[in-house]
Amino acid sequence: MKAAVLVFPGSNREGDVAQAIELVTGRRPQMVWHGDGDFEKVDLIVVPGGFSYGDYLRCGAMAAQSPVMAEVKKRAAQGVPVLGICNGFQIVTEAGLLPGTLMRNSHLKFVCADVHLRVETSQSLFTNRYQAGQVIKVPVAHAEGNYFADADTMKRLEDRGQIAFRYCGPDGSIIDGRGNPNGSSSNIAGVFNDTKTVLGLMPHPENAVEPMFGGTDGKALFEGMVEALS
């Protein structure tokens, strides 16, 4: 699997995700600067976490207008898989690759903590190494992760199986907002586009790939992509 990781001014988890990809593929992904609209052909584009352009204006809003994102939109339309994590989720949402929006956390503060996620489907190139209903533990670290979409969109996401991950209790239970770190609608932690080739999620699977450094529950996401895209 050949992967590209985008780098915007203010990106800061690009190294983390590059490290995770290197761990499972044995090769370093290509790092692509935000001004570079003409990067090499790859099997996967990763939009990493951070504070692109300082999160000024609105999280992800400026990055969504960058030259590199124009190219990402083009390639996504051609079916090239795109993974947006945290700020990357905000960026791909702002760029219109995913429905909905990410608002300020309901408690208004930044939150960094391990959360439990229920994998809602294994039927995607991102989640094929998980079982549907499986509970995994990965961290979140964000101030604007409160996913929101209008009722029609929510219904469509549900009906078409576009919800990838939901926040849940340690046993997988979803009771009100328990275990939800940001107040997101329907406890949503990650969503697909309608072809399931774009995944956006707030949690950081890239920070859960080694036993001594946060556990390994996030590793299967990268292994699954390698399997699907190699």
Partner: protein, 751 residues
């Protein structure tokens, strides 16, 4: 080289005021200090020159009250690459790698404007570390707030924590540890001490000493605005009712720009274009330029009109004294300007050649071609005022007889009270706002062990799980009671915390927060603390490699508790051999290491349950400290320890409760036969002790005794309760609720 005579005296700027005694006083210069200035200058200074002297001779920049004492601290060891005097200390951590670290205060600004004050404190310490060529890998912070009942405290906690989070999170550096205390003595003067640890290659460390006559002096980063003018001078005076009006002297931070500056500097550092580099911290362009020139024994011409400006109409005085953030000064090799400019332009940062080095040892400032300032550099530095202020040592209070401290009438209530008191209650509300996981190297997180443990990036494959342990410690009530003991204890506790995760303690950065040094009793606190620290640092081979002094922490004449915060770093070869403090497994033997006399003087028990702050603080026997610690470390890296926690505030029972809560497993212990009263045994704060969870308790006890270390098997882990035979049985859930709910409850309640 000698100082060249003044060839070009400065011109008068339009609106240049006449220097009056009042203007001199407003610049914080005492009359005799101004006399000294006149002797050096040989004429009346211009305003910009006066401002420069004022900043350079402020307590904050000159250490004029503390220098004579700081010299008593040990600063050398075979592993020390750079001790105090540079932007940060540098130690060798093996494999061609160095750890670069420092702690610095931002107390006054944080009280005036908590968000920006704390944020720029983090920004400043990060710059100190990456200026030297290191990529920062972790932040810590030590915070002291006033009484929770004080009207301002909630607002200050909220703002400071958000400020630290806002800056550190955006920079992408994990904030992995620290401490937070509350005491009425900080009501009018909080402490915000921020520490950064970075890693660099030992052969790629950058220093501030300028070299090469004619070489260009380059300004990079943010533009200069009018913020923070005279910040250093403000930080060198006491607070009073008017301090609110000093808000304009607080700097405003932009972590996004600092992130760009970090990446741009590291990119430039990967070339060999840099001769010297220095961040602009306190006293901005003034202190950075003087330090670089002075360290290099050179002179400098700076064309101030070339400084990138954020606002129109700025004058030389403002440019020299602004403390605008996210700026650096660099001496480049000749001819490398274009290469460097390209890097900073890529990161969309300002880049301007603003001067060049000369052989005159003078700082010549020009403004559109006219000389506006001309100061001989060496005397400004070497003839800076230095005071041996009178000092009176605090006498050692009498030892408190434990028999005179009542036992709790309700054991359960006593533990619940302690575990939910502001100092011991869970600080999760704070550290969950800090990204403590970014970079993917955090092995021991907050509340996971006595020290944070972070993998060292970039180590060779064979050493790929090398870790740095880091902590910050001080027990101000001990220092207040007896500064020498308190100073000794702060160092010993930091050493103990590094040890308790299995790492080898290597070096210290100190952040000395005290009141007005012109009062002999305050100067005596400072002197006493230094004596105690020096003794401990020597005994534990734990040199001080960097630090910061913050004096005048007083409001309306009321000083803070003397607070010499100790930041410390240690190394462990393989993180797999470390230990946290979480008790996650049932059936483990719980062994207490160290001697328990039941010391209740100055204990948290005495303060929280009986409202008394009295007696002598617990003594620290440094030889015992070392012996016990070396034994514990050996057991941990020998993989015979599941969990380890040092005993500090609240003693044995609080340590056990913290281990149980952190791992979600209960425990049952029985006090051994002894003549120590149970409440003194359980809540006493005797030093040099650890609580260890291990598979084979008797074997550990035997090994300890062989090493001459006191050890006793107290009981076993397991069950849903924390139980002390015959005294206490408390469900963990009840304890957890009390421990975890206090801070969120406090922060969410109406003011």
């Amino acid at each position: 080289m000698t100082v060249a005579p003044e060839k070009n005296p400065p011109v008068k700027l339009p609106n240049e005021p006449v220097i009056t005694p009042q203007i001199v006083a407003e610049h914080g210069l005492a009359p005799d200090e101004y006399e000294r200035l006149l002797k050096i200058m040989g004429r009346t200074p211009t305003m910009v020159e006066l401002g420069i002297f004022s900043a350079m001779w402020s307590e904050h920049c000159s250490y004029k009250s503390s220098k004579v004492w700081l010299k008593k601290l040990p600063t050398k060891a075979p592993w020390v690459i750079q001790g105090p005097g540079e932007n940060a200390g540098v130690i060798d951590i093996g494999d061609g790698q160095a750890a670069i670290f420092k702690m610095e205060s931002h107390n006054h600004p944080s009280y005036i404007e908590p968000y920006q004050g704390a944020a720029t404190g983090v920004g400043g310490i990060l710059r100190d570390v990456f200026t030297m060529g290191a990529r920062p890998i972790a932040n810590l912070n030590a915070l002291r707030f006033g009484d929770p009942k004080n009207a301002k405290t909630r607002h200050l906690v909220s703002g400071v924590v958000a400020g630290i989070a806002g800056y550190g999170n955006c920079m992408g550096i994990p904030t992995v540890g620290g401490e937070t205390n509350f005491h009425a003595a900080y009501n009018g003067n909080i402490l915000v001490n921020a520490m950064t640890v970075g890693v660099a290659a030992t052969d790629k460390i950058f220093y501030a000493a300028a070299a090469g006559i004619g070489n260009p002096m380059v300004y990079v980063g943010s533009k200069t605005g009018r913020d923070g003018i005279h910040g250093a001078t403000m930080s060198s005076t006491e607070f009073n009712e008017d301090s609110e009006s000093k808000r304009p002297t607080v700097q405003v931070g932009d972590p996004f720009v600092e992130k760009l500056l970090l990446e741009a500097c590291l990119e430039l550092m990967a070339t060999d274009a840099i001769i010297a580099i220095q961040d602009m911290g306190a006293a901005g362009l003034t202190s950075s330029s003087f330090e670089m020139a002075a360290k290099g024994g050179l002179g400098l011409v700076m064309e101030l009109d070339k400084v990138p400006m954020r606002e129109t109409g700025m004058n030389p005085y403002e440019l020299m004294l602004s403390e605008s953030q996210e700026r650096m000064l660099i001496v480049l090799k000749p001819g490398r300007e274009d290469e460097a400019r390209k890097i900073f332009e890529k990161w969309e940062l300002d880049f301007a050649v603003i001067g060049h080095l000369t052989d005159t040892e003078r700082m010549v400032l020009t403004w559109h071609g006219d000389v506006v300032g001309n100061i001989p550099i060496p005397p400004l530095v070497t003839e800076a005022p230095m005071y041996e202020r009178p000092w009176t040592l605090t006498p050692l209070p009498p030892e408190l007889d434990a028999a005179k401290v009542p036992a709790p009438t309700d054991w359960k209530a006593s533990l619940l009270t302690l575990m939910s008191c502001p100092d011991l209650a869970s600080k999760a509300w704070i550290w969950h706002q800090y990204d403590h996981l970014i970079m993917g190297n955090t092995a021991i997180r907050p509340q996971g062990g006595d020290a944070a443990l972070v993998r060292v990036p970039g180590a060779p494959k064979a050493a790929s799980h090398k870790g740095l342990a880091m902590t910050s410690d001080c027990t101000p009530r001990y220092v207040q009671a007896h500064p020498e003991t308190g100073g000794r204890q702060a160092v010993a506790e930091a050493w103990r915390n590094i040890t308790a995760v299995g790492a080898r303690p290597l070096a210290v950065t100190d952040n000395m927060n005290f009141g007005n040094p012109q009062k002999p009793e305050i100067m005596g606190q400072f002197a006493g603390a230094i004596m105690g620290m020096a003794e401990a640092c020597i005994a534990l081979d734990f040199p001080v490699v960097s630090g910061n002094v913050s004096l005048y922490n007083e409001t309306e004449g009321r000083p803070i508790l003397p607070t010499p915060t100790i930041g410390a770093v240690g190394v462990i070869d393989d993180i797999a051999t470390s230990a946290g403090s979480r008790l996650v497994q049932s059936g483990l033997a719980l062994v207490l290491i160290g001697k328990t006399k039941g010391w209740l003087g100055q204990s948290i028990y005495l303060r929280e349950l009986h409202g008394r702050e009295e007696g002598a603080p617990p003594p620290v026997d440094l030889a015992v400290e070392r012996r016990n610690g070396d034994f514990v470390r050996g057991e941990i890296v020998g993989r015979r320890v599941h969990a380890c926690h040092d005993l500090s505030d609240g003693g044995l029972l609080v340590a056990l409760a913290e281990m149980c809560l952190a791992g979600g497993t209960g425990a049952c212990i029985k006090l051994p036969e002894s003549d120590v009263a149970p409440h003194a045994y359980l809540y006493g704060e005797d030093q040099g002790r650890y609580l260890i969870a291990t598979d084979d308790g008797p074997a550990l006890v035997e090994a300890a005794h062989k090493a001459g270390v006191p050890a006793v098997l107290l009981g076993y882990s397991g069950g849903p309760d924390i139980t002390v035979d015959g005294l206490l049985a408390l469900p963990l859930q009840e304890l957890r609720d009390a421990h975890e709910n206090w801070l969120p409850g406090y922060m969410n309640s109406a003011a």
